[in-house]
Subunit: 164 residues, 2 copies
């Protein structure tokens, strides 16, 4: 067993007896699989709401941006809502739903991995805890609030597992 692999317990042992069919990771990737979707979500977290902001800040083309916004809205990660600036006509803007907001740990985790392994001089952008000002990162915790490393993880069958 590799040093960086997760231990198996209970009904998941032996590994040869099951596959990850119906896996939540695969399902999540079916919803947000593309680079463009991640970039649009990044900008949504950064506060972008208007079409032009999304294209301008991500460098994506108009057609891709439009298609992705449609898909993310369809998936209820973004919500379209009308708005009106003074002296302007009514337009649509895009805001994060709670479902979308819960993708934040994914984004932060990816970003910090990039900061650590792919940048020379460290993070170009840092996340800070408002008020306290300390840097923010994503980490694994158990419900008893212990910090958890790879070697301390066990896999177990959950409530959504298919019985056979």
């Amino acid at each position: 067993m590799s040093a960086n692999a997760i231990q198996m317990t209970g009904r998941l042992e032996p590994r040869a007896a099951w596959t990850a069919e119906g896996c939540s990771l695969a399902k999540a990737l079916d919803v947000v699989r593309t680079r463009s979707a991640f970039l649009i979500l990044r900008e949504a977290f950064y506060g972008a709401t208007r079409f032009e902001e999304f294209t301008g800040r991500t460098g994506l083309s108009d057609p891709v941006t439009a298609e992705r916004l449609r898909e993310l809205t369809e998936a209820e990660i973004l919500r379209r809502e009308p708005y009106r600036e003074p002296g302007q006509r009514t337009r649509e803007r895009y805001r994060m739903t709670d479902k979308g907001a819960e993708l934040l740990p994914v984004m932060v985790a990816l970003m910090q991995w990039g900061d650590r392994w792919l940048q020379r001089r460290g993070a170009p952008v840092e996340l800070r805890h408002e008020g306290c000002g300390a840097r923010v990162h994503a980490e694994l915790r158990c419900e008893d609030d212990h910090r958890v490393g790879v070697e301390e993880l066990e896999l177990a069958s959950g409530p959504g597992a298919r019985r056979r």
Copy 2:
């Protein structure tokens, strides 16, 4: 400003004055952008090391598996090493490097989002803390160990920012 967006501080305000060029998230996505790469990493975390395990458990075809293993090895996320089972010839297997292991929070975060929003009956597979047995999840913390929600985040310029 949307309720689910991050606040800006200091040199990052106003947002119109900067773009996320050189962003770590985009760089990370350049390394692991495909569904197949995520699935292979999932299986590597679950303990797979041999070519046949990767193809069998992910459902990916041979050519894609081979190409992805090559790319992940090239990116130093996996490491090839020779091994030999008794009465067999020497073969190669793939193991996670430390760089690869640090992608675990990304995988866990994606998986838990899928568990929460895309499954009917909850997680098919659960992660537990070895020994203590409590369920494990990914979350955001600051260096002072406070739990951090979306509305409590601030963006600031980091050491790797481009000055102009």
